[in-house]
């Protein structure tokens, strides 16, 4: 991130591509701190909040949503041209989101199945993260991203610090919270050992396995975890499904999922 950003009044745009709008709520759900935030930064474009200036030049553009239509692609390119920094927010923008599950299937056949007239609808064969199409300066993972992530990121910029990605494993956060490990005590197929921290280890706190909504952590050893799942009694199809969820199109999860998908279970007569 080499560009200089004016630390006094950052101009900000928030763009939406293919998404559920959930990550935008990290802005709109801020409560009173939103009023502080608008003192610090100047929102130029944020449709849901009422600001509609998509082509204005800004210091910082947040992009929510994946690239899944020709229109998304065009907009992503425009955003790059108009913004000093581009930050993708959420699973959709970082790895294609849940809608990227179609990348593993025959997307066209799916369209035919859902729509009587798929020809009315312009769509790409795949749903992919923004960085597959344009240069992205920073990524905030999470489905959804949190208020804390957004504010931390903006404050770092305002202080002239270089934001650092949080990529340590969920397991670490879970241990720090002194939660009981669901894999050890319940044999639950938890993705915590390969998933990025950021949610506060929510699922284990609810006594359930992490399903990976914050995406792959740094150096994830997916294969060894998958083998552990097999040891817990999961069949290959189920192991493939564990990795084919919110971040199915992220490289490590995709690889693992494909690996187990390819394995047939042979019934022994």
């Amino acid at each position: 991130m080499s560009q200089q950003v004016n630390p006094t009044k950052l101009t900000v745009a928030l763009h939406k591509l293919t998404s559920c709008s959930g990550c935008q709520l990290a802005f709109l759900n801020q409560g009173a701190t939103l009023l502080e935030l608008v003192e610090l930064v100047d929102f130029k474009h944020f449709i849901e909040a009422g600001l509609n200036h998509p082509d204005e030049k800004v210091d910082l553009a947040f992009v929510e949503g994946s690239v899944s239509t020709p229109e998304d692609l065009k907009r992503a390119q425009q955003i790059r041209q108009n913004s000093k920094l581009v930050v993708s927010i959420g699973a959709c923008a970082t790895s294609g989101g849940v809608q990227a599950l179609r990348n593993m299937a025959d997307g066209n056949a799916w369209m035919q199945a859902v729509y009587t007239r798929p020809d009315f609808i312009a769509t790409l064969a795949t749903s992919t993260g923004v960085a597959e199409h344009i240069k992205v300066d920073f990524e905030l993972w999470g489905c959804p991203i949190t208020v804390r992530q957004v504010n931390h990121f903006i404050r770092q910029l305002l202080f002239g610090a270089r934001p650092r990605p949080e990529a340590e494993k969920l397991c670490m956060e879970c241990k720090r919270r002194q939660l009981v490990c669901v894999m050890v005590t319940q044999q639950a197929p938890c993705l915590g050992p390969v998933v990025r921290t950021g949610c506060g280890a929510l699922c284990p706190a609810f006594g359930r396995a992490c399903y990976g909504c914050f995406g792959p952590s740094e150096q994830p050893n997916c294969h060894s975890l998958a083998n552990r799942f097999a040891g817990l009694g999961l069949v290959p199809r189920e192991i493939a499904q564990r990795f084919a969820s919110i971040h199915s199109h992220s490289k490590p999860f995709r690889k693992e999922s494909h690996h187990w998908q390819a394995i047939e279970v042979k019934e022994i007569e």
Binding site: S21, I121, P144
Partner: protein
């Protein structure tokens, strides 16, 4: 002649909606020949990618249909599947689900009123630009919204895509400290909500009332969120299983969201439809507030939707207060689950209107196929009909800017949550 002017107006986005959308209108003199609410859905194909997924994964994936009412999608699938698996929840879990549901209504309605609707009434482009001049209005809104979020977090861990809800109950029960904190927050929000209702009642609302059908769940004992019959203002009372007999979807060229019609006619779902159908069942204290503020339901003025939302916020906070006055529940957080093959369906009331889900599962509880009908595709035909009526009455001789603003306001009354089906809408007027 001025009346015959040709106008081609193109506005890329209707703002202050959840999701993005457009409108196309072409007119010649007094005649509108085309009026389309355009929803270009980048199809997310939920109904396809759910195929093969386990019933355990369905609620987590379904949440991602909409960031503002994730629980509604989770719960509709959970309820349908619990029906199929013959799971009868004990009372304390039913109450906790209701509490979480109420939280979602509070949060979604408050977001709509304060971020999406109020700038129209106070003459601002956005809630953010209102902050300096009307800090108290915005702060009140945020207080209420945060209370809704807190209730969802109490039971679901977070308010967007909560993780607590599962087939068979919850992951865990709330902790006492959080239970008490939520009660205090609700106690404080309730007077703010009463104030909000009074404020919405003082607004000068336009009136473009006309005949239309409204549809919601209706229950004999309790304001319906989850449970009750599908009830239409033209006299039908239906069980969920009968939904496909009367409600049919079709596709049109200009929109990627499906159009849903009731026996061939457009209809309304959402807070006004609900309140119109269920006003008799409101607690007396709230009926009194409605009367004292000079509000009348049922009515057919879509601009009163903001008031209907405010009434439902009070209802939700009042009920939440009662539920939280009970001791923090103890006991099992969930029941054991044994998957079964078969078909199931369910309807619940999302904040923005009725949702219908249908599933076919195999004997391991994996999805064979499913249908999910969100509120927006049900309201889409109605919004267009409303616009056709209201725009004419408003006057096509108004300036393009005035027309555009008027149309946007009409659309915002419905609070269509476009991303649940879609994402990109464009406003275009062609006058020949």
């Amino acid at each position: 002649m001025a009346k015959q002017r040709k106008i081609a107006l193109k506005v890329p986005f209707v703002t202050r909606l959840e999701g993005e959308g457009a409108l196309e209108l072409s007119a010649k003199g007094d005649t509108i020949d085309k009026l389309y609410l355009k929803i270009f859905e980048p199809p997310r194909l939920f109904e396809k990618f759910l195929e093969g997924k386990s019933y355990q994964d369905v609620p987590d994936l379904n949440a991602r249909i909409c960031g503002i009412c994730p629980m509604a999608y989770q719960l509709t699938s959970v309820q349908a599947i619990e029906d199929l698996f013959s799971i009868q929840l004990p009372d304390h879990l039913i109450q906790l689900r209701r509490l979480m549901n109420l939280g979602e209504w509070i949060q979604s309605h408050s977001l709509h009123i304060h971020f999406l609707a109020i700038p129209d009434f106070l003459g601002f482009e956005s809630a953010l630009s209102m902050a300096k001049q009307h800090p108290q209005v915005l702060q009140r809104g945020m207080q209420i919204q945060e209370t809704g979020n807190a209730l969802m977090t109490l039971l679901g861990g977070r308010s967007v895509h909560p993780v607590g809800l599962q087939v068979g109950g919850f992951g865990r029960l709330p902790e006492l400290a959080n239970w008490d904190a939520a009660r205090q927050q609700v106690d404080q929000a309730l007077p703010a909500a009463v104030e909000l209702l009074r404020w919405t009642a003082s607004l000068q609302l336009p009136d473009y009332s006309h005949d239309f059908i409204w549809v919601s769940l209706k229950h004999s004992e309790i304001y319906p969120i989850n449970g009750g019959d599908i009830t239409t203002s033209n006299g039908l009372t239906l069980h969920y299983w009968q939904y496909p007999d009367h409600f049919k979807e079709h596709q049109v060229r200009h929109s990627t969201a499906f159009y849903s019609l009731l026996d061939g006619k457009d209809y309304l779902v959402g807070p006004l439809a609900r309140l119109n159908n269920n006003v008799a069942i409101l607690p007396d204290s709230i009926k009194q507030l409605v009367n004292d503020n000079g509000l009348v339901f049922p009515n057919q003025n879509m601009f009163t939707s903001i008031q209907a939302r405010a009434v439902e916020i009070i209802l939700a906070l009042t009920e939440a207060q009662q539920l939280l006055a009970e001791p923090c529940p103890t006991g099992d957080a969930h029941l054991p689950v044994t998957p079964q093959a078969g078909e199931c369906c369910y309807c619940t009331e999302a904040p923005r209107g009725m949702i219908y889900h249908h599933y076919q599962l195999d004997d391991e509880g994996r999805v064979i196929n499913c249908t999910i009908i969100p509120p927006t595709s049900q309201n889409q035909a109605r919004i267009e009909q409303d616009l056709k009526y209201s725009v004419k009455k408003f006057g096509l001789n108004n300036s393009d800017d005035a027309l555009k603003f008027f149309c946007e306001r009409v659309i915002r009354n419905y609070d269509p949550c476009i991303s649940c089906s879609t994402h990109f809408l464009e406003f275009k007027i062609v006058r020949k």
